[in-house]
């Protein structure tokens, strides 16, 4: 499924957080949102997973405005791992992952055998099977992040919205996750800070600054010294990855 941000604007408490965003993803594409702090990446994503209602414009799922869908209905297609997630109750990892099935149910019918298999597979993909019976409050930040990913996988989404998904993850799990996103048929919408990983993962990158799209294109088109300087105010040296040819940034302090 494809996601389109159509003239999306959000005003909140007198500030315009994003303005007239127009971003289109193709089916199965992984699109990265990059940009400095406060550039509107999270705000745009929050509109997609419906934590925020756009002030103007719309988010389209396969061309249909998601605000016309029931929230449960859109959650069957769009799963999200938000940046901030707090939880005070000591659920087990397996219980958290099973909550990914929430949009597919009414009331508290027990999960079917197929759904249990879906959850199990989601835990395998996020590499948390060995933690299944552990309480989430006793996990490390990275383990917890992987549990949240497993929960999103268990939702069986066609669109995956991830806000800084590699936060807290060690490099092994960062690469494992990003590789999965690349090989999956799921459409991905990801906010990332690490431009090198973003370049290696995403089909296209949208550079945001001050709530607007500065530039959108393939990593090679977008990651130029001029554009990075314009968005972030830093001047990197850009080289090609020796094996993949993808642009990689080097900074001098």
């Amino acid at each position: 499924m494809s996601i389109t941000l159509d003239d999306l604007s959000v005003h909140l408490a007198g500030a315009e957080l994003v303005r007239d965003l127009n971003i289109e993803t193709a089916e199965g594409e992984v699109l990265g949102l990059v940009g400095p702090n406060g550039s509107g990446k999270s705000t745009a994503l929050r509109c997609v997973y419906r934590a925020l209602r756009p002030s103007r414009g719309a988010v389209l799922l396969d061309g249909a405005d998601i605000s016309t869908l029931a929230t449960r209905e859109s959650a069957r297609h769009i799963a999200a791992v938000p940046q901030e997630s707090s939880n005070d109750l000591d659920f087990t990892v397996a219980e958290i992952v099973e909550l990914g099935r929430f949009p597919h149910h009414r009331g508290n019918q027990p999960l079917t055998i197929e759904e249990r298999a879906v959850c199990e597979e989601a835990m395998h993909r996020a590499d948390v099977v060995h933690l299944a019976d552990r309480g989430v409050l006793s996990l490390s930040g990275g383990e917890r992040q992987r549990v949240l990913l497993a929960r999103a996988f268990a939702q069986q989404p066609r669109v995956l919205v991830l806000d800084e998904p590699t936060n807290h993850l060690d490099i092994h799990h960062q690469i494992q996750l990003l590789r999965q996103l690349r090989t999956d048929s799921t459409t991905g919408l990801i906010a990332m800070h690490d431009l090198n990983l973003a370049a290696a993962t995403c089909d296209r990158l949208a550079v945001l600054a001050n709530g607007m799209v500065l530039h959108i294109g393939t990593p090679t088109e977008v990651l130029t010294p001029e554009l990075i300087n314009e968005a972030f105010g830093v001047a990197p040296s850009i080289v090609r990855h020796p094996r993949t040819g993808i642009p990689q940034l080097h900074y001098d302090i």
Partner: protein, 382 residues
């Protein structure tokens, strides 16, 4: 998505055993299913044993009291009352003590204990706060304003014995409505705003109650109000029981049916949105439910503290955080607890009665602290 989608296309970063564990994914599915059903079986065992304990506790509660009635007589009276049998005229006073006084009282203790525990679970999920209890949203202080008006100035005198309950219920619902209106904001009904508004307005209601008692024409009003506030089941009758019982059963059923929503609510509003749940809407419904149930309970028993705070934590220690399990066990444990507390309240210093709140705290606080320290209980992190 199939399993093959998930496997990395290049193996350079995957160790062989990781690859192997991915390949085994379909076979290990079968192992998790028995583990889930084992958990279900152990829940069923727990429920059945708690039901037995509750039944025994109820019988003990009915048998014991200031006026001694031997157990065989108690059983005979109960059997006669339930099956419509007859008893000798000589047994009339014993029968009346057992069936008209103690039985409704013990049953009401069970209902109130169950109700406060269930509502405690609901309110802690609603405001996402470990310190929340059913009275945190101003319900009990609102009820006390109504109750003190009745005790001090004879409000609702036309309602006779129901005046106190009616005034308490109205006070509770009025207070809840005020808290709700004051806490409501542009960004929805956030947990912290609810708690802060509830606590702040509770102080307001308390001072209002104090003022009413202070200006009361009768000097023992303060005592009566205080006793009522600490909770008592002394006024329990058969006629008051059905409404409270029906409310508690209905609320427990509704909450159980929506237990997964409570789980999702605990993950925070952002995550809830991503899972297709409007957290504010759910919170509003939960608030309404808690206000009604707590109002009904306060009307029949006063404000019995501590049960709604501690039983939810105790149950989570036993069965984990999952709300379906918590809501299945909490009413049973709460009911058992309050049956014994009420028994202690009327027998320890008979014929005088201790307020329930005194005993719930005396028993509950040390037990709770010991449990909290012994097990690795985590609520709100380490």
């Amino acid at each position: 998505m199939t399993t093959s989608d998930t496997q990395p296309t290049s193996d350079t970063q995957s160790s062989p055993d990781r690859q192997a564990s991915l390949d085994q994914a379909p076979t290990s599915d079968n192992q998790s299913i028995p583990s889930a059903s084992r958990r279900e079986k152990s829940l069923l065992t727990t429920v059945l044993s708690l039901v037995v304990v509750l039944a025994i506790s109820t019988l003990v509660g009915i048998t014991l009291g200031p006026a001694p009635v031997p157990l065989p007589d108690t059983v005979r009276y109960l059997a006669a009352a339930i099956t419509g049998g007859t008893i000798d005229a000589a047994d009339a006073s014993g029968y009346s003590i057992i069936w008209q006084v103690r039985t409704p009282r013990v049953l009401l203790a069970a209902v109130v204990g169950a109700g406060l525990s269930v509502v405690g679970v609901a309110i802690q999920a609603t405001v996402r706060n470990a310190l929340a209890d059913p009275f945190i949203l101003g319900v009990s202080s609102g009820a006390s304003v109504g109750a003190s008006a009745v005790v001090s100035f004879g409000l609702f005198a036309g309602l006779g014995v129901y005046a106190l309950s009616t005034a308490a219920l109205l006070g509770a619902l009025g207070a809840s409505a005020l808290v709700y209106l004051a806490a409501r904001g542009k960004s929805g009904l956030t947990p912290l705003r609810l708690v802060l508004t509830g606590v702040a307005l509770a102080y307001g209601f308390q001072s209002l109650m104090s003022a009413i008692v202070f200006f009361a024409p009768f000097s023992d009003s303060a005592r009566t109000v205080l006793f009522w506030l600490m909770g008592s089941l002394g006024s329990a009758t058969w006629s008051g029981l059905p409404l409270a019982a029906a409310t508690v059963v209905l609320a427990t059923g509704l909450l159980l049916w929506n237990s997964r929503s409570l789980d999702v609510l605990a993950l925070g509003d952002e995550t809830a949105a991503g899972l297709g749940m409007d957290a504010t809407a759910v919170r509003k419904r939960l608030f309404l439910l808690t206000a009604i149930v707590t109002g009904c309970l306060v009307a029949v028993s006063g404000a019995v503290g501590f049960v709604g705070l501690v039983i939810p934590h105790l149950v989570r220690l036993l069965v984990g955080a999952n709300h379906r399990r918590v809501l299945t066990i909490a009413p049973l444990i709460g009911a058992i607890f309050l049956v014994w507390v009420d028994l202690a309240s009327r027998t320890l210093f008979a014929p005088r009665e201790l307020p329930l709140g005194v005993i719930t705290a005396l028993i509950g606080v040390p037990v709770f602290i010991i449990l909290l320290r012994r097990r690795g209980y985590l609520f709100g992190g380490r």
